[in-house]
């Protein structure tokens, strides 16, 4: 590799050719502040916060460190009076049209703009008097709001939606001072074919984008003595939540999370991982049935509600490929209000079923048709990982000093197969563990399928199962889903079984997970660190196959019969509807 030598603030550093100054400075241990720049997502050098001085023969020039590649012998100065003055001026301009109600802002204390103002010692004066935008909040979507009064027009959300997810329902409208991020013909986000993935929220540096929050409703239900309030937590929540309490990225806080939920006052603390094991039982069975009976192949997973909604909008002619299985959240909710309700002798109408998810599309999913196994909604409220953190803080729990606790029976026990659902490839691996043993009738020596692990956007593998070649594919992000689906639509897809997750890297990187500031995200593979924690959790489990989960065996023996039974179909399966692109 061609290396380039340069100096950053006098510190010598050698980096590969083509490296941008911002990364070279990081290599030299120097932080260059950024706002619009998000590596691999948004590299448009529009905000001008990252300006640095480059020493030149005819005087020094100011260049954007996020976009300028390094040159041999380059001398970069990142904190001269000229640089600091330019940055401060840019911040003053941004603040001149920013709604500075930080105290009541959802990002207070976690805002990249606020942090920058703090670092730059900004004052409160209006340096540029003039018009200010105070656009109304777009609250038309079921999963999130957009408050453009907090928007700094960095376009990270637009790049994420358009280039990574390749959906493009948001963009910059109008021109100059009137520029606003919004939807076509100024419609609300809820009127478009937005799939609710929340990746726009995940990359927003300020409080312009945030999930619709149900913390108050959940706390009110807990305070109501007539309500039996149960909670379930998705696999990825346990490896994201800790970040909100100062733990390093990739820390598994499963035990403390269970303890926190109990102390918040939930009557039962269940685990979506049980629902995930149930999903595997049904999905593996559905796959085996499709293979045996010549059903529609490839079969595609249906755990990710953002992916399902994407398929309904953009590939409505391909819905027969989707597994009819409900997602783990909905299966867990469904057995909560049927199986558990009966066992506990509680009227399902008196149960408030809450889920904690790394996901914003889950807020959409609970309102879908065909998600009411007991005649009432399977899940009543969805909280994101971020909301759970806020809730824990609000009720005054010292999270770090909590003991490690476990989940409640009879729908809290789970396997290593379930916990890896949160990583791209995890559902495929979990399903293979069960499907292969079902098809061969033999026990796998090592229940691991390394080919489908890892952070690549599309992974493919072929397995020989009982004399049959099984070709599988795994994709994460709707941009990659598009590549898979175009092949399926064209009839050229070689696969039998496909896993698709809406968010890049899978649920560990979901739109409801703690936001990681660009200053960290630009240099650390966040989804990988979180996924590694899930695989460690899997390794630590004695039972790593869904069909070996004793609680799963029990629910089939006591209630569901066998996978794919009439009861299972009524409780655990659903249907899909074609939607338009708009």
């Amino acid at each position: 590799m061609d290396m380039v030598n340069l100096k950053v603030n006098g510190i010598s550093v050698s980096v590969p050719k083509g490296t941008k100054i911002v990364a070279a400075a990081h290599e030299a241990g120097v932080k260059v502040p950024t706002l619009c720049y998000l590596k691999g997502v948004n590299e448009i050098a529009s905000c001008r916060i990252c300006m640095v001085e480059v020493v030149g023969p005819r005087g020094n020039s100011l260049v954007p460190a996020c976009a300028q590649p390094v040159k041999e012998g380059m001398e970069v100065l990142t904190n001269t009076p000229r640089v600091l003055d330019a940055r401060r001026r840019t911040l003053q301009l941004i603040l001149s049209d920013h709604n500075k109600k930080c105290l009541s802002c959802v990002r207070n204390g976690k805002c990249e703009l606020q942090e920058l103002c703090h670092e730059m010692n900004m004052d409160d004066e209006d340096h540029f008097k003039g018009a200010q935008h105070l656009p109304p909040v777009d609250d038309s979507a079921v999963h999130m709001d957009r408050d453009n009064s907090k928007c700094i027009l960095c376009r990270r959300c637009v790049s994420m939606c358009t280039n990574i997810q390749q959906i493009g329902v948001i963009g910059a409208n109008n021109r100059g001072f009137n520029t606003q991020i919004g939807c076509a013909f100024e419609r609300g986000l809820g009127e478009t074919s937005c799939v609710s993935c929340g990746q726009c929220i995940a990359v927003c540096p300020t409080g312009a984008l945030y999930e619709k929050s149900y913390i108050d409703e959940v706390l009110a239900a807990i305070a109501d003595p007539k309500k039996h309030v149960v909670v379930q937590t998705a696999p990825s929540v346990r490896v994201g939540l800790g970040e909100e309490f100062g733990y390093p990225i990739g820390t598994d806080v499963e035990g403390k999370m269970a303890a926190a939920l109990r102390r918040i006052g939930f009557d039962k603390v269940f685990d979506t991982d049980f629902g995930a094991d149930l999903t595997i039982m049904e999905e593996a069975n559905e796959f085996v049935e499709r293979v045996k009976t010549g059903g529609v192949l490839p079969m595609i997973t249906s755990c990710s509600p953002g992916w399902v909604k994407y398929c309904e909008h953009y590939y409505p002619d391909q819905l027969a490929h989707l597994s009819t299985c409900k997602s783990p959240q909905q299966m867990q909710g469904a057995v909560t209000k049927t199986y558990y309700a009966k066992k506990a002798g509680i009227d399902p109408k008196d149960i408030v079923s809450v889920s904690v998810m790394p996901c914003t599309a889950k807020k959409f999913e609970i309102g879908r048709d065909g998600q009411e196994a007991a005649g009432v909604k399977d899940v009543d409220y969805v909280l994101t990982t971020r909301e759970l953190a806020r809730m824990i803080k609000r009720v005054g729990l010292d999270f770090r000093s909590l003991p490690d606790e476990t989940f409640d029976d009879p729908i809290g026990e789970s396997t290593g197969a379930a916990v890896i659902f949160g990583a791209t490839g995890g559902v495929m691996e979990a399903a293979l563990r069960t499907a292969v043993e079902t098809l061969t009738g033999e026990t796998l020596a090592r229940p691991e399928f390394h080919e489908v692990r890892g952070q690549e956007g599309i992974k493919e593998a072929t397995y020989n199962v009982a004399g049959m070649e099984v070709k599988v594919a795994v994709a994460s992000s709707t941009g990659n889903a598009r590549k898979i689906m175009d092949q399926i639509r064209a009839g050229t897809a070689p696969w039998h079984f496909v896993e698709i997750m809406c968010c890049p890297g899978g649920c560990v990187n979901g739109g409801g997970q703690p936001q990681v500031p660009a200053s960290i995200r630009n240099f650390v593979n966040v989804p990988k660190l979180r996924a590694d924690a899930l695989y460690r959790n899997n390794e630590a489990k004695t039972i790593r196959k869904s069909h070996e989960n004793p609680s799963i065996k029990k629910i089939y023996a006591d209630f569901l019969g066998k996978p794919g039974s009439e009861t299972a179909h009524h409780v655990l399966h659903t249907h899909y509807v074609p939607r338009e692109v708009c």
């Binding site: 358009t162 493009g168 963009g171």
Partner: protein, 162 residues
Amino acid sequence: MKSQTLPFTGTPEQAAELQKVIAELKDQPGALMPIMQKAQGIYGYLPIEVQKMIADGTGIPIEKIYGVSTFYAQFNLQPKGKYRISVCLGTACYVKGGDKIWDALRKKLGIGEGECTSDRKFSLDSCRCIGACGMAPVMMINDDVYGRLTVDQLDGILAKYN
């Protein structure tokens, strides 16, 4: 914020013409602007129905098309009237009272910048200098130029257009 006020009256012939344009251009790099220009040539403006046709035909998200249509002044989101009124608000016309002509026309026609009357007779735009500063303040209705205007002449001028 621009909003649509008049119903879309596109014909199947216009749609067929647009489909032909899209089929011809869509695989070229940078096809969006020429397609939008030709679409505006066919329909006179780019309402949601037309932008949707472009989106469906090209696979480009409609928001991107709308973003382009609101960025460039050359694209109209409102239909133009049979008679297109263009009031100069350039420096010379402005100091000679162009703003009063502008305000009076907006009031008389009941429409704002870029809009069209519901009978589609008049549409109203402001412009910056048509090269007739000696006659300020001026306005144009289609190709007719009216100079040294006063507010009380406007009724008489509008009455000439039916």
